[in-house]
């Protein structure tokens, strides 16, 4: 199949085939990063703008590296919340970037739906690098890519996501992506951190970490964002580690080859022990490496998707 979408906004919108296309394309791009000269000309002459309204190092750098390995020109814009309040709207910023004849905007924003709103209002491609609590599609894609690489398939796997599900865009994107590919997803958190009607997204819920680990083929450990606890919903840090932290002792009761993932940055001793984070089951650093291939794939495909649209006149062209 061919990619036809101008944007990548979330995994809820994608079909199983589209997700598989991103993963297969990523497989072929992964090799580029192992070369002596880590570059292909796929996006030569294209401009990628990283528009980040939230502080982010790893995602931004990963997108930057990915774009550069595709030979695109990269511009980074760090827009702080205060400048937004004073200044222009997101739509105006997007239109200005479009007027600079950029080709792809990679946007990170603290408001859910911001990427979608931007995509509706510009003719160029928009890639969602995380919007509020809504979606973080490239993180989920790299998680899925890593899982597939390790276990050979996604269909039939049992994957547990543990942590603050309520406020997590990573959890939402993973649930959509994994269930579309035929995996079973179990989410595990204290009651206050499970959002309403999450079962309707296709996930099962437990509040007991040992139950959550028992049959799991993989566990995705989310960072507890204590700094964002506006509603006082979080348990105390130590209490959380005691009841939900991923430790060697807990892993002993799980499948021997369970895969341990974490989107980073990790808080050692809060959601995961150092022994587990650095242990044999951990694929945390491989996720970072795979993130580049997955983002190369996404940038490459949306650029193509937009070209397709230009040809058919479905989308405003430059």
């Amino acid at each position: 199949m061919a990619w036809t979408k101008k944007d990548l906004l979330g995994l809820e919108d994608l079909s199983r085939e589209e997700i598989e296309l991103i993963l297969t394309t990523a497989e072929s791009f992964k090799e580029v990063s192992t070369r002596e000269i880590k570059k292909v000309p796929a996006l030569r002459g294209k401009t990628v703008v990283n528009l980040f309204y939230e502080p982010s190092t790893r995602t931004r750098v990963s997108f930057e590296v990915a774009a550069k390995r595709l030979s695109a020109d990269v511009i980074n814009i760090a827009a702080s919340e205060s400048s937004v309040r004073k200044g222009e709207t997101l739509i105006d910023t997007g239109r200005n970037i479009e007027a600079l004849k950029a080709d792809i905007i990679v946007v990170r924003h603290n408001a859910s739906g911001a990427a979608e709103m931007l995509a509706r209002n510009v003719g160029i491609s928009v890639v969602n690098a995380g919007d509020g609590w809504h979606e973080h599609p490239t993180q989920a894609l790299l998680d899925i890519f890593t899982l597939k690489e390790k276990l050979g398939k996604i269909e039939g796997l049992k994957v547990t996501i543990v942590g603050d599900i309520a406020h997590s865009r990573v959890a939402r994107s993973n649930i959509w992506g994994l269930t579309k590919l035929g995996a079973e997803v179990l989410v595990c958190a204290p009651k206050m951190l499970i959002p309403a009607a999450i079962e309707q997204m296709g996930a099962c819920v437990t509040h007991n970490i040992d139950d959550a680990l028992r049959d799991a083929d993989a566990i995705n450990v989310l960072r507890m964002q204590f700094e964002r606890d506006e509603e006082n919903a979080f348990p105390k840090q130590l209490g959380y580690f005691k009841n939900f932290g991923i430790t060697e002792e807990r892993l002993k009761k799980a499948k021997k080859n369970i895969i341990v993932m974490h989107p980073g940055p990790i808080n050692r001793g809060i959601e995961i022990s150092s022994e587990v984070a650095d242990g044999l089951n951990s694929v945390i650093l491989e996720q970072v490496t795979n993130g580049i291939a997955v983002r190369m794939s996404v940038l490459f495909l949306v650029a193509q998707g937009r070209d397709t649209k230009d040809a058919t006149g479905n989308s405003p062209s430059l």
Binding site: G113, E116, E135, R169, R172, P195, Q200, M201
Partner: protein
């Protein structure tokens, strides 16, 4: 219309629940009142509107409208809002007090009245605030505002959080015979919420607004109104539990009435799924089950009134991130057609029922409907009573609309008379169109 000029509406299908009239007849208007209703009225000197195959009904009384003036004339003015009203078949609006300044003292009320007198295109009645600046802290002078002519009091947009203060407000309202309209929302529960709590809030990653935040306050206000023996009207009911609580209160004989808005019986939370800020309303669009309950409540008579909650906002305030966008949609120009399309044509209300919800009941609740009667004037002469809204009775104010019941049209941004375009029904095909709006005897709008 000059004095003594006459207007004859011929051959229309008259729907007037106040007189139990549902038949083809003529209506004669003289001197801004209805002077005759009957068959084959013949006159040589009257202007004639041919209403063959049209529905003729009392002008709509919309008891929940934000006209924004004074203070936010960029969103709407008394002039533009009442023009929009006429276009939608609404001849009387009840203006909510959350203007800038709020209608919380006699000076502000007088200012508003003077603007209305100069610029209004339709009848405007005014709601005063319950508390100063609608802050829920200090009472307004209800007696003075009542004397100066308010039709009700409400802190609409907010609920009076303090139970004791609310009880006192109801007791005072009872004393001065003022209707209290309650916006039922517990802001501690809805804080920062943007959409209905449930699958929609989870899937969109937005903070949710629970049904509890509404119905707990409905329950409280009913209890307090019962205690105060006051008249209570509950605004924009959106969820099943509220309907059930109101039904229960009515069975107990508590003097409570309730309204809902077209968005709550025609749209469910799924409409928000692409972060469409024109679907961001307060209370939020609810689940399909709640929508069913609202429809059933209208059918059963638990919900007395359909009002628009017309809430104009500028493009700037809606074309932003969903969680930052303002709550509210415009509705004056679509409420009749949405109600025909979604209620009459789906068998939930008949035409008589529709006119009750949109004209007769609100007029009764506001005390501006009076059944026809005779009285002795100061000289002891027996006269027929004149005036009143919500009916086509002889003697009533000639607020009448002529509607094409089957005409289809599409809601377009360009078509609105309102200054704002934030409609939840943009692009929708609706059935039923206002052909003529006659307000106080004059043809105030013609298609």
């Amino acid at each position: 219309m000059t004095k003594n000029s006459k207007l004859l509406i011929k051959n229309g299908h008259i729907v007037d629940p106040a007189n139990n009239l549902d038949m083809v007849a003529d209506i004669l208007i003289e001197n801004s009142n209805i002077s005759q209703v009957g068959n084959n009225i013949k006159l040589n000197n009257a202007k004639i509107i041919d209403a063959t195959d049209k529905i003729v009904m009392p002008g709509l009384v919309d008891m929940h409208v934000h006209l924004r003036e004074p203070g936010r004339e960029d969103k709407e003015t008394i002039a533009s809002g009442t023009e929009a009203a006429l276009k939608g078949g609404v001849t009387t609006v009840l203006a909510m007090p959350n203007t800038q300044p709020a209608v919380d003292c006699v000076e502000n009320l007088r200012l508003l009245k003077s603007i209305i007198k100069e610029t209004a295109n339709a009848n405007v009645f005014i709601v005063g605030a319950i508390t100063k600046e609608r802050e829920g802290k200090e009472f307004v002078d209800i007696a003075k505002l009542k004397k100066e002519g308010i039709a009700a009091i409400s802190d609409d947009g907010s609920s009076v959080d303090n139970d004791k203060l609310m009880l006192k407000a109801l007791i005072k309202a009872k004393e001065y015979k003022v209707l209290v309209i309650c916006h039922c929302e517990d802001k501690l529960l809805t804080k920062n919420g943007a959409v209905n709590l449930g699958f929609t809030s989870t899937r969109l990653g937005l903070r949710g607004i629970s049904n509890e935040s509404e119905y707990k306050r409905v329950e409280r206000d009913i209890l307090l109104a019962e205690r105060a023996k006051a008249r209570l009207h509950i605004a924009h009911v959106s969820c099943r539990q509220s309907v059930e609580l109101i039904a229960k209160a009515k069975r107990k004989g508590i003097r409570v009435t309730a309204e809902t808005a077209p968005q709550y019986f025609s749209l469910s939370e799924e409409a928000v799924l692409r972060y469409d800020t024109n679907m961001k309303v307060n209370p939020p669009l609810r689940s399909k089950d709640d929508v069913d309950a609202i429809r059933q409540g209208l059918k059963d008579g638990v919900i007395d009134v359909i009002a628009s909650d017309h809430a104009p906002h500028t493009k700037n305030e809606k074309d932003i991130e969903f969680e930052r966008a303002e709550f509210g949609v415009i509705g004056l120009e679509t409420e009749l057609a949405v109600s025909i399309t979604e209620l009459v044509n789906k068998g939930i209300l008949d035409w008589m029922g529709l006119v009750k919800k949109m004209a007769l009941n609100p007029a009764k609740i506001l005390g501006i409907y009076k059944p026809p009667h005779q009285f002795q004037d100061s000289k002891g002469i027996l006269r027929n009573w004149c005036g009143g809204k919500g009916t086509l009775s002889v003697g009533s104010d000639a607020d009448i609309i002529v509607v094409s019941p089957n005409k289809e049209w599409r809601v377009e941004k360009e078509g609105f008379a309102s200054k704002s375009k934030n409609s939840a029904f943009l692009g929708r095909k609706l059935v039923g169109m206002v052909e003529y709006t006659i307000c106080n005897g004059k043809v105030a709008y013609k298609l």
